[in-house]
Symmetry: C3
Subunit: 212 residues, 3 copies
């Protein structure tokens, strides 16, 4: 049993690192596209990776932030940005973007689950908990786009992203209220979020636009 | 006496709901103009309606947020956004925009009064209390415009909006310091703010531009 | 000794006021360039001057904000904005911009030192303390540019600004950990930050751009 648990922990850590790296790289790519300088690229990478969780902690009034408790994450992010600036060229951008789609989907699910869990632990009502999950998963990208002076792509590319996290978040809340163990709620939430996102990308689903 | 008080409470609640709905609709309209998808429209509606009060609570370090205490407000907002997306067409936009001017002006006054009152209750100095009132009334629209990648209209359409709230806020502070009852300060603040705003719209007043 | 200390305090206050005024003026100028109205100019001036410190206090969860403790700062800022709108004309803009470069560099150094000091006092790890210094010095300008719907110039004008604060912040942390007195760490941090900034402006240093 202990063995399984420690395997689960390791797996979770791996998914978390892969997801964070994918989020950060999405920021680095957008910063590079906008011709930001080295400082700007690092800041946008940081916002994309940690902005959502930081905003959630601000709203739930929880300190210290997770990147204060785990400063190595900050150092790792800095290293990632420097490495990307040294080795990533424009011709690699499209490949990188395709490569980070899967870790990004997994990260979205995991971050959503973390946000919902933390909000439920602070006695938030169900809808607010789901919103906090959404904010954790989606608002890093929103802050990234705002700093880069774009309308957030999560709000206008008409491809399901936040709605996947919304569905996953409700699944987490439902299982939690039914008394399911934490790991099960986590796995189901990640599975639904990432699964829906993968389906949406594969089948080219589109969110309804405004009917003129 | 009790009767009057309960009538006052009901009236206040009605103004609050009408104002919140007007703020939310201004967000929905701007989101629709920018061709956001369903998720974006809801987020922008939420920011326009609750962004100012949330920012005030963050700055004053007050929890839980009012939309956590009254989750029905969130559900109502979600319903409003969905209904707007189902039934509002582009040809209704102008009419809606004209229709929400009055509840918007009343809401501006009421939100300003709420913000000033809460800041005074936290022992803030007078100027800071007025600023908190301003933030409550105006920064929902500012956040809405930032996410929609526009310069906030409150800052560059040269029509008095924040200054009306500024005047109303000082009236509240003055009456509060003179020991007037809460309801009187509230009514005067809403009256001055909404009255000035109505006058400004009616007489086409313009804020001074930068003299070249 | 007491005499020297009180001289030091006075000097520090003078630098702080000059730096704050320079930051505020940078906001006023950008607001004027974007043709904002009187309200917008004041808000952008406020964000440029106090936005960084406010964000730091939000992240470190410290209240009351410094502009709540020193409300005269707010009144002074309001006066500065009104005076600028009355007397500053477009033909003065370039001169003003050149004139505020030096107080701006000093202010950057001082604000960075303040941020690092406050974060170290809240038991933050070294890297986080330097980040808080950076945020204090740089994010006022970032908020100013976001509200004015521009990519923050600190991230894309390729002239060293945040990196100077980064170097100064590490110097502060190093001296603090070595047990040096506060005033020494402060002076060295301001000297390094402002010195590097001056050198960069004088020699036209450029941050590395993304290699295509």
């Amino acid at each position: 049993m202990n063995n399984i648990q420690s395997w689960g922990e390791t797996l979770r850590l791996l998914v978390e690192l892969a997801g964070t790296a994918a989020f950060a790289l999405s920021g680095v790519l957008e910063g590079a596209r906008k011709r930001l300088d080295a400082v700007g690229v690092c800041v946008v990478g940081f916002l994309a990776a940690f902005g959502g969780g930081t905003l959630r902690d601000l709203l739930l009034d929880q300190r210290p932030f997770f990147w204060v408790r785990h400063v190595d994450l900050l150092w790792g992010l800095l290293a990632l940005c420097v490495l990307a600036m040294l080795f990533l060229r424009h011709r690699h951008f499209e490949l990188t973007e395709r490569g980070i789609q899967w870790p990004d989907a997994l990260g979205l699910g995991l971050f959503t689950a973390t946000g919902v869990d933390q909000a439920l632990g602070s006695q938030m009502p169900a809808l607010v908990a789901v919103l906090m999950g959404l904010i954790t998963g989606v608002f890093g990208g929103v802050l990234r786009d705002i700093v880069c002076n774009e309308i957030p792509s999560a709000f206008n590319d008409h491809r399901p992203y936040a709605v996947c996290a919304f569905a996953g978040g409700w699944a987490y809340v439902g299982l939690w209220q039914a008394g399911a163990p934490d790991w099960l709620a986590l796995v189901v939430c990640v599975g639904i979020t990432a699964g829906l996102r993968a389906l949406a990308l594969w089948r080219n689903w589109e969110l309804p636009a405004w009917r003129v």
